[in-house]
Amino acid sequence: MDLRIQDQTATAVEREAVDAVLGPPESGWVGAARTTTDGHFAVGGHAARSERHLLLPVLHAVQARAGWISPGALGYVCRRLTIPPAEAYGVASFYALFAMEPRPPVVAHVCTDIGCMCRGSDELVAELQRTVGPAGEHPGNGHAIWLESPCLGLCERAPAVLVTEAGEDPSERSIAPASADDVAAALAGRVPERMTPEPVAQQGSPDVRLMRRFGVVDPESLDSYRSHGGYEALRRAFALGPAGVIREVSDSRLLGRGGAAFPTGRKWEAVARQPVRPHYLICNADESEPGTFKDRIVFEQDPFSVIEAMTVAALATGCEHGYVYLRGEYPLAWERLVNAVTLARRHGFLGENIMGQGMRFDIELRKGAGAYICGEETALFNSIEGLRGEPRNKPPFPVDSGLFGKPTVINNVETLVNVLDIVLEGGRAFAQRGTEGSTGTRLFCLSGSVERPGLYEVPFGTTLRALLDMAGGVRAGRELRSILLGGAAGAFVGPDMLDLELSFEATREAGVTLGSGVVMVFDETVPLAPVLLRIAAFFRDESCGQCVPCRVGTVRQQEALLRLVSDRPRGSVEDELALLDEIARGMRDASICGLGQTAANAIESALRGLRPFRTEAVS
């Protein structure tokens, strides 16, 4: 492949940032200074092109150092990795956190998503507009801007802001809850304090399983993890052997927590059986569904548990290579994850001979860059491979052909963490908890107009009412209007549904979904029309753009909603509702992936159940 690189050259700091990830260039062919021997050999072929999976980490490095990805920097990246510049540009421009035009070093990403809307983001934004100026515009010194952001996964501490600062010593800090003063201070150049996690409400409760070490264990210490039962499950897994582990997981009837509720045992068995090697294991921690923050808290509070669970999964399915794909907006979770992997490697819990059992397994870390769609499993594979995060057509399924075209196990963080208990107490014992069709416990993310937002763990089968009560009910004694179950891809339910049993089977029967465990509460003071508009805007922004029904359908859905909300329908309100229904059916039936297929769900459920446009003054 001949590369034609643009004439602009990378600056010294841009090259440094790239070299810090890739090591120094070896010859003039890949961007080093030319020497007289360069003409005597050529580089290229498969070896040179096999580095493409490093594209995303390198782009992160450039963005963090320079604040944007300049043509010169991209050209240097392309030379180093043997990637055609047009393709690298196509990848970089896919991600919201990468800027393809010059941008000030400090950026405050201010969440304007629905969870924060319930808790003051509107006021925060209005204040910023007044004191700093409109989103995207440089205040005074040209050193900083603020931008609107989709859900930052900090909904229990809303309103949330992520401040990134590019430069020699780049930083990423969450501020939550954030005030306009906090944001103004950050924009003025003061790096925010590192966020301190808040204890979960059930800390120390004997009822919790997945959260039992939260607040008890030191999340930065492997010794602390081990003294709280850490690595006992892996020891037990070695005794059971791969087939034994899979048998226990199958017996547990564990269903995936990432949204699709697929039986984990079946997935693992399918990969374990594959003669093709290598097998890959991926922990899906992209967690970008609005209202979801459970995986973040797991990494903040008990990161080693994920690494141990992945090691058990790798043992069972014959993987030597694993990835954690964490969303890019989680600085504290990222730090703790990096620390945990480093310590585990140093102490023989990852690497060549794990726990002296001759097992080989290691984990690479990947950070997302602002793309909800990369949580879709096949889009995630493409993202790791250095391609655009576009979902692939299925079949083939990941267990046959996943990452790099090899058999791949991909599981959500919460799914994996369940495996520790399954191995320790046995699958049948695990299945005692919960309901017949939904075994075990579930992490629920409570946010919005609730008294004590946060993460709650309850056995499946608990009612929505009981869960809400645990969180102190609707805030300030207000009246419950509706609850968004399962996230933006889920559905609104009304107060009449409080006795709904939270299990896969009961929600399916009721025509709703548990999705990623989102329970977002709206009281009567929160106007619903802006919430629905925000959801429509979210799907428009996050569509990968690959297929027509979703790429255009999400826009047409947003436009129809805008007309309804502004009380300027084309034809009658009924006409618009019928049009929305047609758009929804088209997206659901003809989109490639779950994003387009579910992009109308929440809006449709609200229009069906609540009729916000007919029963209330909208503005």
């Binding site: 540009y89 196509g90 896919f94 991600y95 919201a96 805007a537 690959q546 047409r556 039936d589 003809a590």
Partner: protein, 313 residues
């Protein structure tokens, strides 16, 4: 004994619209349908390209599948029951056509009008089109951010045509993002990778790096992207200019097959001639040397044929 490996293709039996159909293993549903004489609309499908199944106009219903499936990509299976004209199928096609018709200029997409009528697609339902984007505006769109407007006009991809070289133009107001040009320029044929898909969502576009003009890009002007573009978004400048002047007239054109004179490969050329002037060059898609692809010489190097002595000499 023959040393030539023989691949035995099994026959697959399936049902299409209630009729028993035999198909070859590995064939697509679309292939089986077309052999049965069914006319299924396609846009992103290309005989010579890897299916990307992005346009979703060819969707069919397969019994047991929760969602519709793209017939251009899904392989036939034994016992499959396919419906190609159910209400769900017709609705999906209608929506895809409306979505495209309301956001993209389909005036040079063959059969678009016919399909619109067939599926009762009414793109005007979404309101009058929003004003076109300024030059370069869509090229700079930042992923994850957009201007929503008030819903009274329908967002489109309208923008000025890119005329940055003498050979062909890129009118992305006509682009349906079928990925064909990218495939043709990339691993499917040309391996030049001058253009790629960039951006995200409705702001997705086909672009060179940083949208640099073609002469500054890796493009080698093979025109293989033009050959596969189903909408006329990529067009010979000779065709574009005649269309602008109102002198493009396919009914006045002849097509003459010949062999490219430049090198020993011997690519087949089809010369499209109007008013005794070559206005465009293609190569047959089913030609076993070219599969429709050419290089810059065969595609664009025809001016010498028609160089005429200046008047009065």
């Amino acid at each position: 004994m023959s040393a030539v490996p023989v691949t035995l293709r099994r026959t697959v039996e399936l049902e299409i619209d209630g009729e028993a159909v035999r198909a070859r293993e590995g064939e697509t549903i679309l292939g089986a349908c077309r052999r049965s004489g069914l006319d299924i609309p396609t846009l992103c499908f290309g005989e010579t390209l890897t299916p990307v199944n992005a346009c979703r106009v060819c969707m069919v219903e397969v019994e047991g599948s929760r969602v519709l499936v793209p017939s251009c990509a899904r392989k036939v299976e034994d016992g499959m029951k396919v419906k190609t004209a159910s209400e769900r199928v017709r609705h999906a096609r209608k929506m895809v056509l409306e979505f495209l018709g309301s956001s993209v200029d389909l005036s040079t997409t063959p059969r678009a009008d016919e399909w619109m009528a067939e599926y009762d697609a009414r793109p005007e339902r979404y309101g009058p089109p929003a004003p076109p984007a300024a030059e370069g505006e869509r090229d700079r769109a930042q992923a994850g951010h957009h201007h929503a407007g008030d819903g009274q006009t329908a967002a489109t991809v309208a923008q000025p045509v890119k005329v940055d070289n003498e050979l062909y133009v890129r009118d992305y107001a006509k682009c349906i993002l079928c990925y064909k040009c990218v495939e043709g320029c990339g691993t499917d044929w040309q391996n030049t990778f001058a253009i790629a898909v960039a951006g995200r969502g409705f702001e997705t576009r086909i672009a060179t790096e940083y949208a640099v003009p073609l002469p500054g890009s890796a493009c080698v002007y093979c025109g293989n992207c033009i050959a596969v573009c189903p909408t006329g978004a990529l067009m010979f400048k000779s065709e574009h200019d005649r269309r602008a002047e109102g002198t493009w007239d396919e009914s006045q054109q002849t097509q003459t097959d010949t062999i490219c004179p430049y090198c020993g490969v011997g690519c087949n050329l089809t010369l499209h001639v109007q008013d005794n002037t070559i206005v465009k060059v293609t190569s047959p898609l089913d030609h076993d040397v070219t599969s429709g692809n050419l290089c810059v010489k065969g595609r664009f190097g025809f001016q010498h044929v028609q160089s005429r002595a200046p008047k009065g000499v």
